[in-house]
Amino acid sequence: MSVSGKVAIAGVYEHPARWAPNKTENQIMAECARGALDDAGLALSDVDGLFAAGIGMGIMGVVNLAEYLNLKPDYLDGTNIGGSSFVAHVSHAAAAIHAGMCEVALVLYGSTAASNAMAIGTGMGSGGRDPHGAFVGPYGMTTVGSYAMVAQRHMNTYGTKSEQLAQIAAATRFHASLNPQAKMRDPIEVEDVLASRVISSPLHLLDCCIISDGGGAVVVTSVARAKDLAKKPVIVQGCGEAVCHQEVGTPDLLTVAAKQSGEKAFRMAGLAREDVDFCTIYDSFTITVLVTLECLGFCKPGEGGSFVEDGRIRLGGALPVNPDGGGLSSNHPGMRGIFLVIEAVRQLRGECDGRQVEDAKIACVHGTGGILGVSHSGATLLLANEAG
């Protein structure tokens, strides 16, 4: 009954651009579609399901994209739940394929966030001039500020240190130094993070993701179809989604959507946390990674600070996280979830050269969308290669 083991990722592509002022977002998505279909050994004419989301993609967005690509798919999904959307698109595509609604699903994202000078962290968080936004709007909440309030609460509750959050930034930068496509490749140490200016206490500049242009594409199809394609299939073993909001009742800022979506994904996959070889986790800020690791169950609540010390999440450690350099150092064109899927697939295929996770068989992918300390979505995937 479950979709576990029935659907595969057959093609992926990460746009190499980090600065693309002369490209349109549709163009970036189309170039990514070409890349991922080439990777899979498929043609545009094979695509019968289209999945996309974007910051500027409102009503009709996915329809306009189909028009741009001259596609007439049988299945459309424009779900936009923030940066996690593309992780959710993979599970939606898996469900649609398993149900026979489409056979070859194309998931797309493209953005020129950097060349549009979009101040994602500090210029657009405060809510609109509408009755809903009025409970946030007056107070100057930024995106980073909402995550910073989660970090402050975590530190107060559990004694988590800025040094521990900085370990996440330093490990991720180390990974980026091994990724020729990463935007920020000069290694940093914990001291560098602590010495960088405080944007919104307790988060420093180097606790925050970068802003880049970019895009990506993922091709999803049935395991049966994937077996005959160009690359070894990466199997969808488990998926889950969740929403978390802090408004009514007694809010718990430290239990994020990853707890609900992760439990569902692990249950569906029949896998234990110990089975996972590496993670790709949305690292909008260092605190996002820390609370996500806790809520996915890789450590207990409050233990995230000590968990990320001593190289555990670095390549060669027990649970490497974001081996591509993540949003903290490789790329972050506004909504980063698609790259979590892409890197997990490349690692599971053994294509990652200097940053390859040794003997990688099972990946846990988790995307966070929205504003962590206010309302956010979570989407988890468990992916495996044929050895997993």
């Binding site: 009755p131 909440m141 500020g145 405080v198 919104s200 802090q246 809010p251």
Partner: protein, 141 residues
């Protein structure tokens, strides 16, 4: 010396009107369900604990505790740029609900989680509801 955040009259609709009218009277208005007793904020037409329509409004104590906060040093929006550094916080009200706000009346470095705070109202230009528009914020109790 940073400028204070200059609040403006806030847009409302019929679900949120009683809250902003309360602010105009310098009362922090919350909702209570007459059927199940749940207290909720932000205001809604229905009780989201039991989906009853029997919602009543009441003036809260205006007292609470800092649940968490951040000192904002960077905000690119012109309305907030010159107010940096300012304190953004969640205050857990004594009645239960938690709301986002600013903490004023002390140095940002003096704000701590667990600090007792009390509401104050900042009158602003324009009308929201029937009373004068005002925006609630909190200071050390």
């Amino acid at each position: 010396m940073p400028k204070e955040i200059e609040y403006t009259a806030q847009p409302y609709d019929w679900e949120t009107r009683a809250y902003w009218e309360g602010c105009g009277r310098h009362e922090l208005v919350l909702q209570r369900c007459r059927d199940c007793g749940a207290v909720q904020h932000r205001p809604r037409a229905l009780c989201v604990s039991c989906l009853s329509d029997a919602i009543e409004h009441f003036a809260a104590s205006g007292r609470g505790t800092v649940h968490t906060f951040t000192v904002t040093n960077q905000n690119g929006l012109p309305a907030f740029r010159e107010a940096c550094p300012y304190v953004l916080a969640y205050v857990a009200l004594d009645e239960g609900p938690q709301l986002m706000t600013n903490i004023v009346g002390c140095e940002p470095a003096e704000v701590e989680i667990g600090m007792r705070v009390v509401v104050e109202f900042c009158d602003v230009e324009g009308e929201a509801g029937e009373g004068a528009a005002a925006v609630p914020r909190f200071r050390p109790a």
